[in-house]
């Protein structure tokens, strides 16, 4: 909100420089965001927090300034008006939406230019001058905070005012020339035939006060803040009036605001008051409740030792009624315009604010050793992250929302996700049930900008109807980092994504990892597998299907993806590991070279070997694979070594030979391998 220093000085003595005042206001909770000089005036742009609608006007700010500077408010002289007893024709059909409506009928006013002093005041706060009557309503709004609206009485059909909800299909052209569609959620002011204003928001063009206007109906009302807010948002209109109604005007000050405006109209435009009508749903609002302030407690809380008299003074300047209570207490009644003050802490804040937080002491809290256990979820995520980083994979963070379409394109549509009722855009309508669309988007984004070789991961959330789950997504695209000593390395393949995922999970979970063929529609047939850790199936990995890549316009074929549900594996993480003595006994290694059929997996070879390993087979290490002329068609050659070792003794050559031969024989007889 803009406030003019000259205008402010009409109501309060300001004995300090503009800069000093700006600083004081900022430090009392009214941040001065900008100071400008207009003619011989200084204008502050203030941020008023939503709990302080009482400060959205000059008099409210003057009251604050008086408290902050510890100075005096100047009395405002305002001759009263004699009102006739003749009522106006006003009817309220929605008492909840409009609990108070005060209409004043002024006959024979001369609409003309506003007097210079009003124009100057309005100009200083950026309000355009229209004519004397409209300017007076704006002036009073700025001065008192009570929004007012003036109708051309002769244009009101039947001379009536009806406060009601709009009907479906009704429209109004507002003073800005825009025709607006109305509906029953919107409160309107109507005459006998049509809407003449959107209550509290903006007036209608047909009934606005112009140079030709002779008779005026002046509206001063209290509208329900929520209704006004909703109407403003629905119609996309915000005005000085709606801004104040939304935050709540002072119910009891509706009359004072009207009287001030009527007085000014009579003074500036002449005319006589020909009717007045004040309709209230409730009489006077109940007095605010008494708050008891414990001075000792307040002093302790703030770390100060302020005398009760000082508390009393500050609070009285803010409009409180203050009286001494029992020992060390004050009995306080907050002013009616401060509906934000309800309990003791609210009062403590008022005092702290006026003193200035910067004038309060500083201490360091003792942070108690808490009995709260830190969560393994975060530790697990961090460990996974570190391992991926160590393998050269970059961390990404992507939006949790995706489009329904992208889920279908990634063939994840069946997973559902969680729909958002009010998405910001239609392509952000679903909380993702899979990380695939998000990471493919990142891949496409980078490829389009010339970065074709990508190793990326995200440790993020996925969402299903049963809630959110922590998941890891990894994507590899393009080629591996070259080693200049060995020439260019190849494109990523299945074993790269498998290696990254295996290393990460083996280290963090310390469990056996098993891969099983698992056809997925979004992975290339034969290169899509499920991943089980310690017997728990936790995700999948493989080569992304070309059809899926096409939807993202990714031309590269070698894009690999893995997704692991970290929630499933969390219990494996963080287990204490017990030291096993390092065996002093030498290992014996035997190489094996076999030709095996297509349907024989290395996993089967290992299983057979360990089954017959009699506890001395320590490890099976894969060292190569080849196909070619020397291998029977449809077979492949595999080379691996078996490592025999005991923790207790040196193995005898014969004993190893016996086991080894048995294993090789079994591979031949059971798996149909051909020894080479």
């Amino acid at each position: 909100m803009k406030i003019s220093l000259n205008w402010l000085k009409d109501y309060v003595t300001v004995g300090v420089s503009a800069e000093k005042l700006a600083h004081k206001l900022t430090m009392a909770g009214f941040e001065v965001e900008k100071i400008t000089t207009v003619d011989a005036d200084t204008v502050f742009e203030l941020e008023i927090t939503p709990n302080r609608p009482d400060c959205l006007n000059m008099r409210g700010m003057a009251r604050e300034v008086a408290a902050i500077l510890n100075t005096r408010l100047k009395p405002v002289k305002m001759p009263g008006v004699k009102f006739p007893s003749r009522p106006c024709d006003i009817k309220i059909l929605d008492k909840k939406g409009c609990p108070r409506y005060l209409g004043t009928f002024i006959r024979g006013a001369a609409v003309a230019d506003a007097p210079e002093w009003i124009k100057r005041r309005l100009c200083s706060v950026g309000s355009r001058s229209i004519n004397n009557v409209v300017d007076i309503t704006n002036f009073c709004l700025m001065e008192t905070g009570q929004p007012l609206h003036a109708f051309d009485y002769d244009k009101l059909c039947g001379g009536r005012i009806i406060v009601r909800r709009a009907q479906e299909g009704e429209t109004i052209t507002t003073i800005d020339g825009v025709e607006r569609k109305l509906d029953p959620s919107i409160l309107i002011i109507a005459d006998e035939k049509r809407p003449v204003a959107i209550a509290g928001v903006i007036g209608g063009k047909d009934t606005e006060v112009t140079q030709e206007t002779k008779n005026i109906l002046l509206e001063s009302a209290y509208f329900d803040p929520i209704l006004i807010r909703q109407a403003g948002r629905r119609l996309g209109v915000s005005s000085e009036s709606s801004y104040r109604f939304e935050r709540g005007v002072d119910y009891d000050a509706v009359g004072a605001g009207a009287d001030r405006a009527v007085r000014l109209v009579l003074d500036c435009a002449g005319g006589i008051v020909a009717g007045r009508c004040d309709i209230r749903a409730i009489g006077k609002r109940p007095k605010s409740a008494v708050i008891v302030l414990n001075i000792k407690k307040a002093n302790n809380f703030l770390g100060i030792s302020l005398a009760p008299s000082r508390y009393k003074k500050i609070l009285r300047q803010l409009g409180f009624q203050a009286a001494g209570g029992k020992k060390d207490t004050l009995r306080l009644r907050p002013p009616a315009f401060r509906s934000d003050l309800k309990e003791e802490v609210d009062v403590v804040e008022e005092v702290a604010r006026v003193i200035g937080y910067d004038n309060l002491p500083v201490s360091l809290p003792a942070v108690p050793a808490a009995s709260i256990v830190s969560e393994t979820r975060r530790g697990f995520r961090q460990a996974v992250r570190e391992l991926l980083l160590a393998q050269g994979v970059n961390e990404t963070i992507t939006y949790a929302m995706v489009s329904e379409k992208s889920l279908v394109q990634a063939r994840q549509g069946h997973l559902g996700g969680v729909r958002i009722q009010n998405p910001l855009a239609s392509d952000q309508g679903v909380l993702r049930p899979s990380l695939l669309p998000s990471l493919l988007s990142v891949v496409a984004f980078n490829i389009n900008r010339g970065q074709k070789n990508l190793k990326l991961f995200e440790a993020g959330k996925i969402y299903t109807a049963s809630g959110e789950r922590e998941a890891l997504g990894v994507v590899l695209a393009g080629r591996q980092e070259d080693d200049w000593r060995e020439g260019r390395k190849g494109a990523f393949d299945f074993y790269d994504i498998k290696g990254v995922v295996e290393q990460t999970l083996a280290r963090t979970c310390g469990q056996e990892i098993r891969i099983a063929a698992s056809p997925c529609s979004f992975l290339v047939p034969g290169q899509g597998v499920s991943v089980a850790v310690g017997g728990v199936v936790a995700g999948f990995l493989g080569k992304v299907d070309g059809g899926v890549l096409e939807a993202w316009d990714i031309k590269q074929k070698n894009v690999f993806f893995a997704q692991i549900d970290l929630e499933e594996l969390r219990s494996f993480f963080g287990k204490e590991r017990t030291y096993r003595p390092i065996s002093e006994f030498p290992a014996i290694v035997r190489d094996v070279s076999l030709a095996v059929g297509k349907d024989v997996s290395f996993q089967q070879v290992c299983a057979t070997a360990f089954r017959l390993g009699r506890g001395i087979l320590h490890a099976v290490k894969f060292s190569g694979e080849y196909r070619g002329e020397k291998i029977p068609a449809g077979n492949r050659g595999i080379v691996f070594s078996l490592r025999y070792k005991s923790d207790e003794r040196t193995l005898r050559e014969e004993e190893v030979n016996e086991v080894h031969e048995k294993i090789v024989r079994a591979l031949v007889s059971e798996l149909g391998a051909i020894q080479r």
Partner: protein, 345 residues
Amino acid sequence: MSWNFQEIQETIRREAAQIADLKDLEAFRVKYLGRKGLVQDIYASLATLPHEQRPVVGKGANDLKNDVSSIVEERTKAIKARQARDPGEDIDVTTPGVTVPPGHRHILTQTVDDICGMFERLGFVVQEGPEIETEFNNFTALNIPVDHPSRDAFDTFYLELPDPDRPGRYQLLRSHTSPAQIRVMQKYQPPFGVIVPGRVYRPDAVDASHSFMFHQIEGLLVNEDVKFSDLKGLLTVFCRRFFGEKIKMRFRPHFFPFTEPSAEVDISCYICDGKGCSVCRRKGWLEIMGCGMVHPKVFVAAGYPAGKYTGLAFGLGVERIAMLKHGIQDIRLFFENDVRFLEQF
């Protein structure tokens, strides 16, 4: 004369394994294939052998010749290849070293870890809460009234997930990390200090400084006699450590429904040193976090006995801090994940 071919083969294999360079290899070749080499000797001996042995020995000699030839051929290739790579002692030390370059931790993760780490060293414990929340935790328990604008669909994402506790109402995406305060308080008794990092969501149209998803860090300290001065002290220590000892600070009264008194913390703009620049919008101050003393109603909503505890709370926006600290001018960069951005941090 008789030849033990098996033994010879063994020897060849052993010797072949020890060949280190081309000189060794040549000696090896001469030894077996040279004019006075073993293979020639065997051929020469054929004449002295009985007729029936000659084919066997002849075949043995042929096999030897083939084996040694192929070993020599293979080894020559390998050694030459190695020599091509290994120029001996005369290497160019300025050509790049080789390793798998480690990946880059996202700058937002780094910022979160840095901030949480500082509070952990002060005794706070990291806690996390879910992103899908109830209206109770996100608003009601935090003293945000039923008609508060922030509850509108304009300011909060509502989900098509029914709220199990409130028939007819729906769960939402938390619009701040503060509901995690409620969860911590419902689960633990004071005293404690917790720090809660997390993602939050608000339906803000995306531009250079707005995002509908962003990160916050929330702190909460509850004990029997936490004072306003503790709030000032704690955050002063944090800001000095995080932004540098030289910065100036101010606590500006503000309004949050869940704290009372509430404040915003400004630090002097370190770009212009407080003189005013475009980053601080000519103010000389940068707003970096909101804070305050926990509102008594929040304690009551969390189930603590009224009046028993006091507490301090604070919250900050991670993107904003990272943008200020690293001179990042567009919030969208965080979520585009251009590797040329990621790899700068």
